[in-house]
Amino acid sequence: MPLRKPEAGSSSANAIELRGVGKTFGSGAAAFVALRDVSTTIEQNVFFTLLGPSGCGKTTLLRLIAGFEAATTGEILLHGKEIADLPPYRRPVNTVFQSYALFPHMTVAQNVAFGLQMLKQPKDEIARTVDEMLKLVQMEALKNRRTSELSGGQQQRVALARALAPKPRVLLLDEPLSALDLKLRKEMQVELKRLQTETGITFVFVTHDQEEALTMSDKVAVMNEGQILQIGTPREIYNHPANRFVADFIGDINFIKAEIVEVGKTRCTARFDGNQKLSFTPDAEVSKGQKVTLAVRPERIAVANGKNALSATLDNVVYHGTDTLYHFSLGDGTRMLARRQNSDGTIPEWQTGDPFGWAVSGNAVAIVADGPEQTA
């Protein structure tokens, strides 16, 4: 294993703590609030992802942690210590920049050695670490190349090696894979996850790609308009989105306006689309008569016949290779989507306007709050 794990118990268990962090750019009429009241705790040794649409403040948050920008309000603690007074070059974190920001006048090896030289490490130790890092990212062969001669993927690896070389306990990564093509991106996702697990370094990873966030992270914080809307494991975020924005941003989802008409011990029944009824296990407190928005993932909707099936009208069927998408509408016009794996290879005959029977299992329904997306 190439890197040391930080010794257990050497400091408080939290790598980063954000307490009411806010950032406003400019002042007066031109003031722009990029972050508002962001509070969260990032434990050691986790792969923590900030996920949100472009412009929601992800980069700004990373820049506050790295020290390139000062927070307007709140405090940032690194391993339990307030770091507001530390300039970036005194903060024990390293960054992989979105644009890589490799030094163009240096070779690959010189880039990786830079941080170690600034830390005044002995020459032989630097040489050893550089070799180790380049091996880690499989770039030993290109050690003496100039960075301008490298492909995007190779530059990405060098940027990673350079940031890992000083063995930081926290690594900040700003959309490091966004410039790579799909295949390489998938490879690097696996690679990064492996690196994080092996080194035990806390990764704070920024992305706007929900799939990337779900596949790589231990914890995901979903952001929008300068706020964190939900923090949880990928499963929690995906299966129990806290509000409409989160539900909508992470993958495809169906929203159904409904009213709770019956509340049982573990299950409840909701009425929707005039008089259709759906029975499910609620993931939040509900009371009889309450108006709710139900969220159901397309893959949790089954194509069903029989008398218990819910009814709808088929709009369109789209074949997608591995699966087939059924677009259908409820009687009240609500558009819905179901996804079914093409495991048996048959594609049904269909026509627009055909009746479409469907069903949902009781644990596939989430109740979502009407989030900022609607109030905004």
Binding site: F68, F97, H105, F114, G115, A163
Partner: protein, 267 residues
């Protein structure tokens, strides 16, 4: 009529080729003739009798010429060096921080290039006179430094503008303090711009007549001033030889500057 032959197409205007030929002849023919004549054996400049390096030998044997050339090189070295250092500091500061009045300051930095040289020359003379400073090498060096700054500044600024601002942050992220970041990252990357700024400033100083004429004094005679003194009593082949040598130096420096400019693309 085809669209390419439309009347408005300047490339099709009759006589354009002829005008171009006249232009090039007007600019380069006198220079060409001067260089040829500097190798003329005859004392009477305009009558060609044979090839000779006599005038070059005489120029190199003339103490006044050597002293003037020495002054020119000394002034150009000092002025170009000081101007380049100041211009580098100004450019870096302008690129790294925002402050009130920055746009205006940026314009003012380049403005002297467009001001008729006689104006600052007279003003500088009055300035030195009111201070009671004795005119000489020192005053010429100061004046040259000042008018060289914009010439050194522009290529450095252009180079900085093409530089990724994230590089400075990357250096800080890797524990380089502002000083180390400047010397290890910013300065090496600026080098091509700094060198071409230096060369430009050097040529401008070497070539200067007006400012030197006004703020110079005893012991600060430069080559242009010396040549001016010579031609007042008639153009001698010796003047041709010195001029040809100055041309050679300028061409060499410009080539160097272009070469350095091209090497920028490596980054």
């Amino acid at each position: 009529m085809s669209a390419r032959r439309a009347a408005g197409d300047a490339r099709r205007w009759p006589g354009l080729g002829f005008a171009a030929a006249v232009f090039f002849a007007y600019v380069y023919l006198p220079i060409f003739i001067l260089v040829i004549l500097s190798f003329n054996e005859n004392r009477i400049v305009t009558i060609w009798t044979g090839f000779s390096l006599e005038w070059y030998r005489m120029a190199f044997a003339n103490d006044d010429i050597l002293r003037a050339a020495g002054n020119s090189l000394l002034i150009a070295s000092v002025a170009a060096t000081s101007a380049t250092v100041l211009a580098t500091l100004a450019a870096v500061r302008m690129a790294t921080t925002r402050f009130f009045g920055q746009t205006g300051m940026n314009a003012l930095l380049a403005l002297p290039i467009t001001v008729p040289e006689i104006v600052p020359a007279v003003a500088t003379l009055m300035f030195f006179a009111s201070l009671g400073v004795t005119l000489g090498l020192g005053t010429v060096m100061i004046a040259h430094t000042v008018f060289c700054i914009p010439f050194a500044y522009l290529p450095i600024r252009a180079r900085l503008e093409g530089m990724d601002p994230k590089l400075g942050e990357a250096a800080a992220d890797l524990f380089a303090n502002p000083r180390q970041a400047f010397f290890k990252v910013t300065l090496p990357l600026l080098m091509p711009g700094i060198l071409s700024g230096f060369v430009l400033a050097f040529i401008i100083s070497l070539d200067d007549f007006v400012t030197t004429f006004f703020v110079g004094g005893a012991g600060s005679t430069t080559l242009p001033i010396y040549i001016f003194g010579l031609v007042r009593t008639g153009v001698t082949p010796e003047v041709n030889a010195i001029s040809a040598l100055m041309l050679l130096v300028s061409i060499a420096l410009v080539s160097l500057s272009l070469f350095l400019g091209r090497s920028e693309h490596r980054y």
